[in-house]
């Protein structure tokens, strides 16, 4: 994400903002839900405005409590036993837990809108 020079707190979240993020998050909201969520999200963001008073210039961000380094493992199968037959069984189990599967794949409705 590009650093932004303007770090002042934006204005109160609007109904349109909430409709926009709901669309981004793949959630369908009714009009009354939209009203309710707008007020509630505004309350939480307003509480977060207490951070405004802090001088945070020059403070480094913390994204994680641990100093993270890439963790590599040996390049051998570790999900399920290495034997082909058992591995296949694991795949079947995963697919069995999915809403729809076909020929070892997850099945979904058309992505581009045309008929299957």
């Amino acid at each position: 994400m590009e650093p932004d020079a303007d770090t002042s707190t934006p204005g109160r979240i609007t109904r349109d903002d909430v409709a926009y993020v709901a669309r981004l998050a793949r959630l369908n909201l009714t009009d009354s839900e939209l009203d309710g969520f707008t007020g509630q999200l505004a309350d939480v963001l307003e509480h977060a405005a207490d951070i405004e008073a802090l001088d945070l210039d020059g403070v480094a961000p913390t994204s994680h409590p641990l100093p993270l380094a890439n963790v590599l493992r040996a390049d051998v199968p570790t999900v399920g036993p290495a034997e082909e037959a058992d591995h296949r069984l694991f795949c079947d189990e995963v697919l069995a837990a999915a809403p729809a599967a076909e020929e070892s794949r997850f099945r979904v409705p058309p992505v581009l809108g045309e008929a299957p």
Partner: protein, 487 residues
């Protein structure tokens, strides 16, 4: 009977694991209808498992330190072939194809998994009222909430359904329900217990930990599940700490600081702490001093901003983690003409209001134009909290605060006001942001007769001294307040 004595009696052949499991299943049959601690009681599997434990003993073997001891799992830990719902309709009926690492560790230790406990949906909540399967009630007073989000795990232990359970703690979800139900609850150091197979809420904050009716049992369970796991890349590369071995060492000479800002005692601190909770905290501090600790006031100023930072950071991580629930690979699908509409229809039907709220909050905080104002600033506040703790731990070995600002509140009281609900977590959130261990120990009761929890905080990997202080507090509470519910 404690988990320690139950395991000892099974290992010595004095009692059968089957007998112990049957006893607890009977307790569940008696009380579960009222409490609703479980989403699933795995009766048949538990009895079969108990028989296998007994067979090991019969052959002269040792099933392990948790031999025959029932353990309940919060329903966000994957159990192979056994429904794992996260308290959500979107995972209703889903059966994981693998076990979480904690499940394998419990198995290796001889434990018997007795069921999956109720929780706020995807661990988002402080009252267990956000479960898609109905609320859990507090066994101490069934008109009150048990706390949350691990309310089912706390209630199951408090009600005597199981001596031990596991919960997960992202902002207080083990410690706060432990306090409200009058049991011991521990959030270990970030990375001490593997998160492999724990359905993610906020990955940089989530940590699995134990519930028990006494400090020694909590130590027993934590020792069994902690330790490095190559399957979790954030697992710290150390073995499980020795806790049972140090429990009786006392606190002589330990320096303990009461965090002014989150105990209602500082001029610049947060408000809203009930006087009875403050009194119990003061008595707990006196008990530690009487046992030889040096107790003073401590200042960790930025803890007052923990709540604000948390309610940006946790939803931001959640909005990303919960993107995977799209109707393709797990659980629920609501069909539609095309995939995007199917994704939205599934998520709309499958998620409850609190989950939707946090996903939207996180999506907003991470979106272009708002990222720096919210997420960027919150991450910087997180740094301040880490630095303030580091400064405090130059003068103190341990810190102390209430676990929650009040005792258990009535069901329904805060469910319609998210911000009011979030305020429950002011004392517990800072430890998650810093990745530090903290635990709640029951210490007396409030004016309403309901349990009060005192929180002991320690620096990373400070569990041994944290447990020593907890053991001292437990002994003092048992001696003076008569409020120990050690059934």
């Amino acid at each position: 009977m404690s988990a320690l004595s139950l395991a000892a009696s099974v290992r010595s052949g004095e009692r059968s694991a089957r007998g112990i499991v049957e006893e607890h299943l009977a307790a569940i049959a008696d009380g579960e209808g009222e409490i609703h601690a479980f989403n699933l009681v795995t009766t048949d599997a538990a009895l079969e498992r108990a028989d296998r434990v007994d067979a090991v003993v019969a052959q002269g073997g040792d099933p392990g330190p948790l031999a025959g001891v029932p353990v309940a799992l919060k329903d966000n830990m994957c159990t192979r072939g056994v429904p794992t719902t996260c308290g959500s309709l979107i995972l209703d009926g889903w059966r994981p194809p693998y076990d979480a690492t904690v499940v394998e560790r419990l198995d290796a230790a001889g434990a018997v998994i007795i069921g999956k406990t109720n929780m706020d949906e995807f661990a988002m909540g402080s009252s267990t009222e956000n479960s898609a399967f109905g609320p859990t009630l507090n066994p101490r007073d069934t008109t009150r909430v048990p706390g949350g989000s691990s309310g089912g795990s706390a209630a199951a232990v408090a009600a005597g359904f199981t001596p031990l359970s596991l919960g997960s703690d992202t902002g207080g979800s083990i410690r706060q329900p432990a306090a409200l139900c009058g049991v011991v609850g521990v959030k270990p150091t970030y990375g001490a217990v593997s998160r492999y197979g724990l359905v993610a809420f906020a990955s940089s904050l989530d940590q699995i930990g134990p519930f028990a009716r006494n400090v020694a049992d909590a130590a027993l369970l934590l020792e069994a599940v902690a330790g490095h796991d190559p399957l979790d890349s954030t697992s710290i590369p150390v073995s499980a700490p020795d806790l049972l071995g140090v429990l009786d060492r006392g606190v002589e000479g330990l320096r303990v600081g009461i965090i002014e800002e989150i105990s209602g005692s500082g001029p610049t601190g947060l408000e809203g702490f009930a006087p009875d909770v403050q009194s119990r905290l003061a008595e707990a501090a006196e008990a530690l001093a009487a046992a030889g600790a040096v107790v003073e006031k401590a200042s960790v100023p930025s803890t007052v901003f923990g709540l604000s930072a948390y309610y940006v950071i946790a939803p931001a991580e959640a909005s990303s983690n919960l993107a995977r629930f799209d109707g393709v690979r797990f659980g629920l699908r609501v069909d539609a003409e095309n995939t995007v509409d199917m994704n939205a229809a599934t998520r709309t039907a499958g998620f409850g209001d609190e989950v939707k709220r946090r996903i939207m909050l996180g999506t907003y905080a991470l979106s272009a134009g708002y990222y720096d104002a919210y997420y960027g600033k919150s991450q910087k506040v997180r740094t301040l909290i880490v630095e303030d703790f580091a400064r405090a731990y130059q003068s103190f070995d341990l810190l102390l605060s209430p676990t929650a600002p009040t005792t258990a509140f009535p069901i329904g009281e805060k469910v319609d006001d998210p911000m009011l609900m979030y305020l429950n977590d002011v004392c517990t959130i800072p430890s998650n942001l810093a990745g530090h261990p903290a635990m709640s120990v029951p210490f007396g009761v409030g004016d309403d007769g309901l349990p009060v929890g005192v929180q002991v905080l320690a620096p990373a990997n400070g569990e041994p001294s944290m447990f020593r202080a907890a053991a001292v507090l437990e002994a003092a509470a048992g001696g003076s307040a008569g409020s120990r519910h050690d059934s």
